[in-house]
């Protein structure tokens, strides 16, 4: 994901802003990392350049 995506994304649960933690990036975008809600502290993974912003219960249920 481009860093500019941060302008529009928010926490799916409480719509608060997210903090970005970059684990891996190339010149253009963030490939791996974490988005953390500044309000509720919930975390969302960025994997292979795509943030997963499903509500945690849906994300975990599907991964199971």
């Amino acid at each position: 994901m481009k860093e500019s995506l941060m302008d529009v994304v928010c926490c799916p649960l409480d719509k608060a802003d997210l903090d970005l933690d970059v684990a891996d990036r190339d010149e253009e975008e963030i490939l791996d990392g974490t988005l953390t809600c500044t309000e509720c502290g919930e975390t969302y993974p960025i994997e292979d350049g795509i943030p997963n912003l499903l509500p945690p219960d849906m994300r975990d249920e599907a991964a199971a």
Partner: protein, 225 residues
């Protein structure tokens, strides 16, 4: 089965590209009607292969965001474009991970009725749209198009089967103005002679004409106050 499981399967078996081909017959007309301006930010709800954003970028939009509940869909979609102004994210229709008033327009093709609660989705749509922004909601599965009703049998997710009037009413309930409603015919699909029926999909030629030429895609356009 969850949206993720169902549609991840579709993505890995290549159904995303098949849908793009078929849906394009009517989606191109729907997209052509959107009053996008240079620099606009547009969301594609249930983006599948992401074709709608690729098309809108050719009309000068500034940013395209493709949201889908199936990670494999977004993974494929991402691989089909290297346009820097198009980005994908995984998310659910009923809990949009997008800020209030952040989008100029929203497009959605053959996806809206999979929402667990379509009324919630409409409220979310209204929330994320800027004032004056439009929601172009296109579906092939709806009350008046009778031969589509059987689709529910082939999918484990509950599908919302609304009539034209129900779409209008639900949009208004969510606080959207209804600017347009239309049946956009699919004129591309070939319909064989009467002698070819019954086929796998249709009992009679009339049923197939009804599905594609009479009803095609139901478009409802909402505008955020």
């Amino acid at each position: 089965m969850s949206v993720r499981e169902e549609f991840d399967d579709w993505a890995t078996s290549g159904k995303d590209r098949g849908m793009e081909d078929r849906h394009w017959h009517t989606a191109k007309h729907v997209l052509a009607r959107m009053p996008v301006e240079d620099g606009d930010a547009v969301l594609d709800l249930g983006t599948g292969s992401g074709y709608a954003l690729r098309a809108l970028r050719e009309r000068g939009i500034g940013r395209g965001y493709g949201l889908d509940g199936a990670p494999e869909m977004t993974r494929n979609a991402r691989s089909y474009t290297d346009d820097d102004a198009i980005g994908f994210l995984v998310g659910d229709f009923d809990d949009l991970p997008l800020a209030d008033d952040s989008l100029d327009h929203i497009f959605s093709m053959e996806a809206f009725y999979y929402a667990a609660d379509p009324h919630t989705t409409l409220q979310e749509v209204r929330r994320v749209l800027k004032s004056g922004g439009t929601f172009y909601c296109a579906v092939n599965f709806f009350e008046e198009s009778e031969s589509t009703h059987a689709w529910q049998e082939n999918i484990s997710i509950e599908m919302t089967l609304w009539s034209r009037a129900q779409y209008r009413e639900a949009f208004r309930e969510a606080g959207l103005y209804v600017a347009e409603q239309d049946a956009v015919p699919d004129r591309v699909i070939e319909i064989p002679d009467a002698t070819a029926f019954p086929t796998e999909g249709y009992e009679t030629r009339e049923a197939m004409v009804d599905r594609y030429r009479t009803w095609g895609t139901l478009l409802t356009v909402g505008v955020a106050p």
